[in-house]
């Protein structure tokens, strides 16, 4: 379904990686490994279509994502380093607004359920600025519960999360993969996600 052919990334006059090839089928998980500065985030942003590869092509269901644009974005949820939470909005508003941006209208009850599942029960009406890093991360990740997209691209989803939250995310990923979803993620933490097929991509 998602295929990368001969991808290369150039930043300034430095080549971060070249000749990256992978194929990810429905229900497949791709973990991107590599030391800091090896281009993991650049690769994920490329897969999202936020930047274009210096060389090569990214194919989604047989068509280049460059030609699909909006149609591809409708299938995609990207959670990057920046969580996209607004300090001045409450937790509940944050989730509803970010889901609406992704094209998913979420009712208040649905949003509260998702937040409760992420362990943010009773904090729905707090402004996001008083949350800790880990809690902000949970708010951002709660979007995975309400958005019904096929491809999840997650950049360091486990950063700042505690053991219980990591467990939650693992279950969430496994459920998504069991429902024939696709996950591309980077992480420095050890996480053992059961998937129909797992691709390990190592950047040098």
């Amino acid at each position: 379904m998602l295929q990368g052919i001969n991808l290369a990334c150039v930043r300034g006059d430095r080549r971060l990686f070249k000749a990256v090839n992978f194929t990810l089928e429905a229900g497949g998980l791709m973990q991107v490994h590599g030391p800091n500065g090896s281009g993991k985030t650049s690769l994920l942003r490329m897969l999202c279509g936020l930047s274009s590869p210096a060389l090569g092509e990214i194919i989604w269901c047989g068509t280049s994502i460059h030609d699909l644009k909006g149609e591809y974005f409708a299938n995609l949820t990207y959670i990057g380093h920046l969580s996209g939470t607004k300090d001045d909005l409450t937790v509940l508003e944050n989730l509803r607004v970010s889901s609406a941006l992704a094209g998913e209208r979420v009712s208040e009850a649905q949003a509260r359920d998702a937040l409760a599942h992420m362990g943010l029960n009773g904090r729905e009406f707090l402004p996001a600025k008083v949350l800790s890093q880990g809690q902000r991360r949970r708010v951002a990740l709660a979007r995975l519960l309400v958005c019904k997209t096929k491809l999840w691209i997650l950049d360091e989803p486990l950063a700042a999360l505690d053991v219980i939250a990591v467990q939650l995310i693992q279950e969430l990923l496994e459920r998504h993969l069991a429902e024939k979803g696709l996950v591309v993620m980077t992480t420095h933490q050890a996480i053992d996600v059961a998937a129909a097929s797992t691709v390990h991509l190592r950047l040098l």
Binding site: L50, F73, Y78, L82, S83, G84, D88, S98, L101, A102
Partner: protein
């Protein structure tokens, strides 16, 4: 989606009232400084009034441009907007409209009160408000292009004024011109029609140009 984004930006503006109020007070103070420094020379003040009010409106609306995209950029919301399956131009149009509602509209409503200091007639004040209501959305739309181009640059605030102020000149000329024409007793329809034309052109072209600049800035 269009209304969602307007609703969100208005909600954020309500939560951060200080941002809205600083722009408005900047406008009030700049306009009030002139009568204080020049003294009670009615004829001189009357001639100056349209120009001064319009220049102050340009500066005030420019002052708030920095915030248009920067907070969304810093917290990652802008990335999500780029990944929305909706057209980015529509989102940008919504943001520019919300920007106008929180900066342009208060300026236009405040202008007649400030115009009294310049001894403007009721007719002239009315034309001033109409010209501001037609002209300030153009400022927000053109300003959005500049804000998108300078996103994430150091010293972007100064750069944005250098980029955007020259583009504001036609709006300034016809906006202030409409009020002057009214005070001179000639028809000001042409000025307002031209302002309306600027508005229509920028409504069509500016969101598209802003969306393209945002994609470049975030690459």
């Amino acid at each position: 989606m269009f209304f969602w984004i307007i609703q969100r930006d208005l909600l954020l503006a309500v939560r951060r009232r200080s941002d809205v109020l600083t722009t408005l007070f900047f406008f009030v103070i700049v306009v009030s400084l002139f009568p204080l420094s020049i003294g009670p020379e009615m004829n001189l003040l009357r001639t100056m009034a349209p120009g001064v009010v319009w220049v102050a409106a340009l500066l005030a609306s420019m002052l708030s441009l920095g915030r248009l995209f920067s907070s969304d950029y810093l917290d990652g919301t802008l990335e999500q907007m780029l990944l929305s399956s909706q057209s980015l131009s529509i989102l940008v149009l919504g943001k520019a409209l919300a920007h106008w509602l929180v900066t342009g509209v208060p300026l236009a409503l405040m202008a007649p009160v400030l115009g009294i200091q310049y001894d403007l007639s009721v007719d002239a004040l009315l034309v001033l408000v109409i010209s501001l209501l037609l002209g300030t959305p153009v400022l927000s739309l053109i300003g959005a292009i500049g804000a998108a181009l300078t996103l994430g640059l150091r010293g972007g605030g100064v750069l944005v004024s250098l980029l955007v102020l020259p583009l504001y000149i036609p709006v300034l000329i016809f906006g202030a011109g409409a009020v002057e024409a009214n005070m001179a007793g000639v028809s000001y329809d042409a000025h307002l029609s031209l302002l309306g034309a600027f508005l229509l052109v920028s409504l069509v072209l500016a969101p598209w140009a802003t969306a393209a600049s945002l994609r470049v800035s975030l690459e």
